[in-house]
Symmetry: C2
Subunit: 429 residues, 2 copies
């Protein structure tokens, strides 16, 4: 069947505006490791997908899935050891204080639940997020979004506030890193003050510890410590959304390990089941108890034995193939290559990465740092034509996003660098 | 490992209040067809689980899952035929007007999305639910719940209203069925009037078409038609939550087929993937378009090729094993047996069923119809000891819930009847 015929069926079933990548969508029928394949065996290097984090269709994960699905798949209101074997192993990778687990199916559900836990535990309703974020697609977490079309309540009246995400790249000239951290932290205090002024009790702050959707900014040193002081000082809790930063992406198991602080609640999802709908919330036990005292929570599919077997298999592969270590090494290699590219192309304003998550920010002019408007999208489409899948990110979508499955090697990095160089020559030439 | 040791680990990881069934929880390690097994091969007839609807660990479903998981598991922003093959087949089982599909992972996500679609399409915020319902665990759908501990806003100020669920059993004496339908319908009109009075534009009504969580009441004839007239007349849409009533449970493919009306939006989940986290929303295309015009919606795992292959395999089994037809036949058989039991035991106040979903309402006194307080729970626990898993339901939890996987035969029904008779003799003796 032709792509056009498929597109027509898709429009009828899912609607014309159901999101699709690329000007001419890619048709994918098969995946293996870091490669995706089209119907005529067109081969694409996957430089985008963080969900199949241990590689597309990893045989160990598929085997675990099939084996447990053939044995038992049932909800968690019966006793079963799968959820314990997985949950204990998972929380053992985290700070000792983070020992209570809730299993759900999606990152949206995880962030929904984390907000409910924070609100129950603090008795407050006010939640602070960043001003260019996205934490999911339910009404409550959508309220935190600022860069998506949404029909939420007006900010002033609502229980959420946005603060500018911290960044070094567009910091005021001559400001020291410490002063910058202070300035961003002051915005958090101002949001808390505004809640107080309007009689809204503060519950906590929810951010991604690598500010992935904000464009992966370099965060001024000291910011997270100040955030923690202010949030805890006002009686709130810190929720880190590790849906993107967790499970080794950053070269550490958890994104929070590079922030200098330990959050009170961690949410996780995407890579957790390598594509199987598995997500979770891990928190301090007293927060979990406070939530349970106020609310019954049950998730039909969450924590079922199949999901837990899959989660365990993902941890197996991360360990056995030393993918977290590989992420640290290969990301350093790819970073060096991108830094060299920056020397050659003025279009590249800034390069940032957090392990195997790269942001290549394209600007019209390095001094003024204005976002390049059309070239980022053009490059994303050109890269696809050249057989490499990447995307763009940031409020202006001017930041190339490179975020491959973790089995990515230096050879794969070389392909990205080669094709990206070709694209930059073409758009700059 | 002993159950006590498992329970201790569970309390540490999930919290002491993480929900568990039965006074002494059941330890389950294996499932097959309508049977569940403990670690020492203790055998339980599953009279409860509607999620593994085509039978625990059905080999055809497991094969489809494993095969597609080994081939491709990726999000829906690339072209892929799996989602179309499944979605077209799924919507073909429904009224022609219901042709637009959204795929998500859980019933909560489906109801969340349905409410967002209703609100976008109507421009209103006001949603009406029943007064003994449960539609999921996100903040927005929790607002509709009345019988769960929750920390939502107060009703008067909020965007939701509850109306009494319709029922014949506790209807005022001497009232005709038609008058009763009118009386319940008048409550819907009153809720809409209250919205109007408070300046809240009406969006729609969200109910389960068999009122499953309300205790499966017999609904007075004409109620649904009146609901439709009133809701549509006020510019709202009707959302049927078919998370429990869909996929053949009622002896028809969809619960709405027995209501006399076609809803504007249908949500589905639990049995859809036989335990795989798969859920969806199907609606009139113009509602989907209105939503897309207002809002971007993307669900990372929703509609991935593995979920769609699983969904397709469930439809295969429903068709090949004629399970919908079997549900109609076996339910008639079980119903007859239960009706005979009612002759013998005054404790049984009312028996209701909708296909393979049974409600056996236990009362202190048939005339006064007061809920039996302790006996229902005792019987549920006794049935478990006798090797049959059932549960209880309703605001007073006084209604025995029998809702087995659909491969249930008359032989299995006989076991339920035999064990239930024993229990009734014991508690009444």
């Amino acid at each position: 069947m032709s792509d056009l015929a498929i597109l027509k069926r898709r429009h009828a079933l899912l609607g014309e505006k159901a999101p699709l990548f690329y000007e001419e969508p890619v048709h994918i029928v098969r995946g293996e490791g870091v490669w995706l394949y089209g119907p005529n065996d067109e081969k694409y290097l996957d430089g985008y997908n963080n969900v199949p984090t241990v590689g597309h269709c990893h045989p160990h994960v598929v085997d675990a899935l099939a084996k447990q699905a053939g044995k038992l798949n049932v909800h968690t209101r019966y006793l079963n050891e799968e959820i314990l074997n997985y949950g204990e192993r998972l929380t053992a990778t985290m700070d000792d204080s983070l020992s209570r687990a809730f299993f759900v199916c999606t990152g949206s559900e995880a962030n929904e639940l984390a907000i409910r836990i924070a609100r129950c535990a603090t008795g407050g309703m006010g939640i602070i997020g960043s001003d260019a974020t996205y934490h999911g697609n339910t009404s409550t977490v959508m309220e935190l979004a600022t860069n998506r079309k949404m029909g939420g309540p007006k900010r002033k009246k609502s229980n959420v506030r946005s603060v500018p995400f911290p960044q070094m790249y567009r910091a005021p000239k001559g400001m020291s890193e410490g002063a910058l951290a202070q300035a961003y932290a002051a915005e958090i205090q101002a949001a808390i003050d505004d809640f107080e002024k309007r009689g809204i009790k503060f519950a906590g702050m929810l951010v991604c510890p690598i500010f992935a959707n904000e464009g992966l900014p370099d965060v001024p040193l000291g910011y997270f410590e100040l955030m923690q002081q202010i949030v805890h000082g006002a009686g709130g809790v810190i929720i880190f959304d590790e849906v993107q930063s967790g499970f080794g992406r950053t070269g550490s198991m958890w994104g929070y390990e590079n922030t200098g602080i330990v959050p009170d609640i961690v949410t996780m999802g995407k890579p957790m089941g390598n594509g199987h709908p598995l997500a979770g919330v891990v928190c301090r036990p007293e927060l979990g108890d406070a939530f349970h005292a106020e609310s019954t929570y049950f998730n039909t599919f969450g924590g079922n034995p199949v999901s837990c077997a899959v989660g365990n298999a993902v941890l197996d592969v991360l360990e056995q193939e030393q993918l977290v270590e590989q992420a640290a090494e290969v990301s350093a290699y790819l970073r060096s290559g991108l830094d060299l590219l920056k020397n050659d192309f003025d279009l590249i304003g800034d390069i940032r990465n957090n392990g195997m998550f790269f942001a290549v920010e394209l600007v019209k002019n390095r001094k003024k740092k204005k976002a390049s408007k059309k070239k980022p999208l053009r490059i994303v489409n050109m890269m696809k034509e050249k057989g490499v899948l990447i995307s763009s990110i940031g409020a202006d979508r001017n930041i190339l996003k490179i975020r491959p499955p973790l089995p990515f090697t230096t050879d794969h990095a070389d392909i990205v660098l080669e094709k990206l160089t070709e694209c930059l020559i073409e758009v700059e030439g």
